[in-house]
């Protein structure tokens, strides 16, 4: 905020797109904000997209028809409300002409204050359902070679990425900011974005679609970790096979040693696992992480085994090796030298592998847009800084984004998260600051609005908009959990 990179040497160009004939410095845009000097080239820049989008939506207000009964309480979906998408009429002049709209719902007047917010402090949290190794925690995530975020924690069956944020948007080079902004906007608009993780994989992320890891589309989330899979399927394997190994990057499970196997009196098989034994039948680090079996880098599962114990193993013993998604599976029989030899898998074992697959949920990428709408709101009441946010936190004012419910973080400001798949297509835009433009609506009771000193007789009735605007049906999805404002 307080620093601004100095413009490069004087290699300005003259734009001939209109008679204003602006001289434009590198990295800057002309008076119209539509044409810019990009490394000495006159290019059409994408504030135009914002403009085109806004104008093509034309300040078109999108009332949402939401499900559920209205019981007069503000925390429920009003049957219709107006979104902020396209509320700014003459973007990119940054002078939105917002609308205040009233609608009457069972005698309760609502006021929706709509605008499009420009968020420098914003980013997306990406959840990628995969067991494949995407990269080490804290590794830099890149788009088009620029750092746009980092790998954060692994969650159950998923890898989380944190992308964007003010450091990448405005703290790095201009290119980094622009690429970050593009990536955030595309992800938020449910478009695919290819991300490369330092020391890890390349993954194509698109909200609502399976991730594509190193060119291979992911199909399923794992049913559980290797140990959990043993627990879930031990009974189904009992009597059909002597040993089962569920290969997993996190916890590889071994049936004969596992508590579940012991309870079924499954005898020892003399199997020797590589890796570090945690508790009986549960092994950590059987192989390096990767995109092979169960999130390890192996393609030959036998490589996680040592030689069988000659005192316990016997020729003819059978063994199933399977990954946590059932995507990889192989069946072995020990030969005279106690070496596992791959054989055709019997039908009943094959069906247990299919059962594992069936119990895996489809792998998806999910993208939550997260932004802080706190700045001016908090600054708005310097006498008592929490007063405005309190109206949100106490659910006097409900916050939505493009009509979609948001999760408002506890604490200061109005920092919210929204599932981007619940917003209408193309809801997000950007400005070359760079920052994202996202719709945000504040809905409050007309009586509360009046209590704040409003002159209510000039609030515009919703009926005045309805005839001219597109009515959208929203899916009756359950709202995100957590407190909603």
């Amino acid at each position: 905020m307080l620093t601004e990179p100095n413009a490069a040497a004087d290699d300005k160009i003259r734009c001939d797109a209109c008679p204003v004939m602006c001289y434009i410095k590198p990295g800057a845009a002309g008076a119209c904000d539509r044409y810019a000097n990009h490394d000495g080239q006159l290019v059409r820049v994408d504030p135009h997209i914002v403009l085109e989008r806004t104008v093509s939506h034309g300040g078109r207000l999108v009332p949402f028809q939401a499900g559920g009964d209205w019981d007069g309480k503000i925390v429920h979906e009003p049957s219709i409300f107006v979104t902020a998408i396209g509320a700014g009429t003459t973007y990119p002049d940054y002078k939105p002409a917002p609308f205040i709209v009233s609608s009457e719902i069972d005698g309760v007047d609502m006021v929706t204050v709509v605008t499009e917010g420009i968020f420098s402090y914003c980013g997306v949290k990406v959840k990628i359902d995969t067991d494949r190794y995407l990269g080490p925690e804290t590794a830099t995530v890149r788009a088009q070679g620029e750092a746009v975020g980092h790998v954060t924690t692994g969650e159950y069956g998923s890898q989380m990425l944190s992308l964007g944020g003010v450091h990448h948007l405005t703290g790095g080079s201009k290119k980094e900011g622009r690429v970050t902004c593009d990536a955030l906007m595309d992800l938020s608009n449910c478009k695919p974005v290819e991300l490369t993780i330092d020391g890890g994989a390349t993954v194509v992320v698109q909200a609502g679609y399976p991730p594509i890891v190193n060119g291979v589309p992911e199909e399923r989330m794992r049913v559980g970790c290797g140990s959990a899979t043993i627990g879930m399927f031990a009974k189904q394997w009992h009597g059909k096979v002597d040993e089962v190994v569920v290969v997993d990057d996190h916890i590889t499970g071994v049936l004969s040693e596992h508590q579940a196997g012991k309870l079924l009196d499954i005898p020892d098989t003399g199997i020797k696992m590589k890796g570090r034994r945690s508790t009986p039948g549960r092994y950590f680090q059987v192989a390096e992480p990767g995109t092979g079996w169960g999130g390890t880098k192996i393609s030959n599962p036998l490589s996680v085994l040592g030689p069988f114990d000659v005192k316990k193993a016997r020729p003819g013993m059978t063994m199933l090796m399977v990954s946590t998604t059932g995507e990889h599976a192989a069946y072995y029989v020990l030969d005279e030298a106690l070496r596992p030899v791959e054989k055709v898998m019997p039908i009943d074992l094959r069906s247990s592998v299919e059962r594992i697959q069936e119990n895996c949920e489809p792998a998806l990428c999910t993208v939550l847009f997260m932004a802080g709408a706190g700045g001016s709101l908090r600054a708005g009441v310097t006498d008592n800084p929490v007063r405005l946010t309190r109206s949100v936190k106490e659910a006097l004012t409900r916050v939505t984004s493009g009509g979609a419910p948001v999760y408002v973080w506890p604490g200061g400001g109005i920092t919210f998260m929204v599932d981007v798949t619940r917003l209408p297509a193309g809801a997000f835009g950007y400005v070359p600051t760079p920052a994202l433009v996202a719709p945000i609506e504040f809905t409050l009771k007309l009586s509360d609005y009046a209590a704040l000193g409003g002159h209510m007789d000039h609030v515009r009735p919703l009926a005045s908009l309805k005839d001219n605007t597109e009515i959208r049906q929203t899916l009756s999805q359950p709202p995100l959990s957590g407190p909603r404002a």
């Binding site: 209109c18 410095k25 104008v55 708005g380 945000i440």
Partner: protein
């Protein structure tokens, strides 16, 4: 020339969008279908070639305005000069400070010549020319800051009010500001007058030489800016609430002067979420966020 103005009805079927180079207008007329069609035809007709007309005098329009003499020829250029001339004796100002409002006014004027309308407006990126017949009114929504989402306030302009122009200026807009105001919204008799006054008052909301304010010479950012080497505000860091008050008060002093001179009808000055309204009468406001710090009447100022 391959360039053609972009002219079309917005998808709502009611409003007209006109764009050419940096000019971007949203137009709405209310009246009978025929009258509205006549109005939009007139707007389209007048808009075509308008930018070329302005650009023909661009070098002179970018020069500081002489308080008395006007060497400009075009009707819009002369209107721009007329709007800024009252401020020219007090300091640097160029006719460009009124370009948006003057264009809006010109288009509205062209529409009114050809059609009988109950209500119409031409919104040039927030600088708005209004037409109001008896009994009609406009609700003008204000954002706390133009570039940040926030709760809003509205001002009502009735047909009986003298106001026919509304303009907003500030450091977040497309043109540069010498001041630090987030937004200064002015109501005045004409859009061009409102535009010029908003620029002047927004420039006055300032904390000279404050270390937290980043300024850069305008021509370093836009080589052909009419502001030349003047320092324009690029960032405002931490400033205390008393400094916010101080800056707003400096702006309010300026606003009262022009209110007393009859150049403006009212103004709302906003900085860091604080707002001062200076108006000849109590401008009707609808406040959804913070209570007004003060609504002052400066009829006798």
């Amino acid at each position: 020339m391959t360039r053609a103005p972009h002219i079309r009805l917005l998808p709502d079927g009611r409003r007209l969008h006109l764009q050419d180079g940096p000019i971007d207008l949203i137009v709405e007329a209310r009246g009978s279908e025929t009258e509205v069609r006549h109005a939009y035809d007139a707007a389209t007709w007048r808009f075509t070639g308008l930018l070329d007309e302005l650009c023909a005098e661009l070098p002179l329009l970018r020069q500081p305005a002489d308080p008395v003499r006007c060497r400009l020829l075009g009707v819009i250029a002369r209107r721009m000069h007329m709007a800024v001339a009252p401020f020219a004796a007090d300091g640097f100002i160029t006719p460009m400070a009124a370009v948006a409002g003057s264009v809006a006014e010109e288009i509205l004027g062209a529409m009114m010549k050809e059609a009988r309308l109950g209500r119409a407006y031409v919104n040039n990126g927030g600088d708005i020319a209004l037409h109001l017949a008896g009994g009609e009114y406009f609700t003008v929504g204000l954002a706390e800051r133009p570039d940040v989402s926030g709760l809003l306030r509205t001002m009502i302009v009735h047909a009986g009010d003298p106001t026919r122009g509304v303009a907003t200026s500030g450091r977040h807009g497309r043109s540069f500001s010498l001041g630090i105001a987030d937004a200064v919204t002015v109501l005045a008799r004409t859009a061009s007058q409102a535009d010029a006054a908003a620029t002047v008052i927004a420039n006055a909301v300032d904390l000279p030489r404050h270390p937290a304010i980043i300024r850069r010479p305008a021509h370093e950012l836009q080589p052909d800016s009419d502001l030349g080497a003047r320092l324009v505000t690029r960032g405002v860091g931490e400033i205390s609430s008393s400094e916010v008050e101080q800056a707003l008060e400096t702006g309010a002093v300026c606003a009262r002067k022009w209110l007393a001179a009859g150049l403006i009808d009212g103004v709302a000055l906003r900085l860091n979420g604080r707002m001062i309204v200076v108006a000849a009468k109590n401008v009707e406001t609808m406040d959804s966020s913070s209570p007004l710090r003060k609504v002052e009447s400066t009829v006798d100022a």
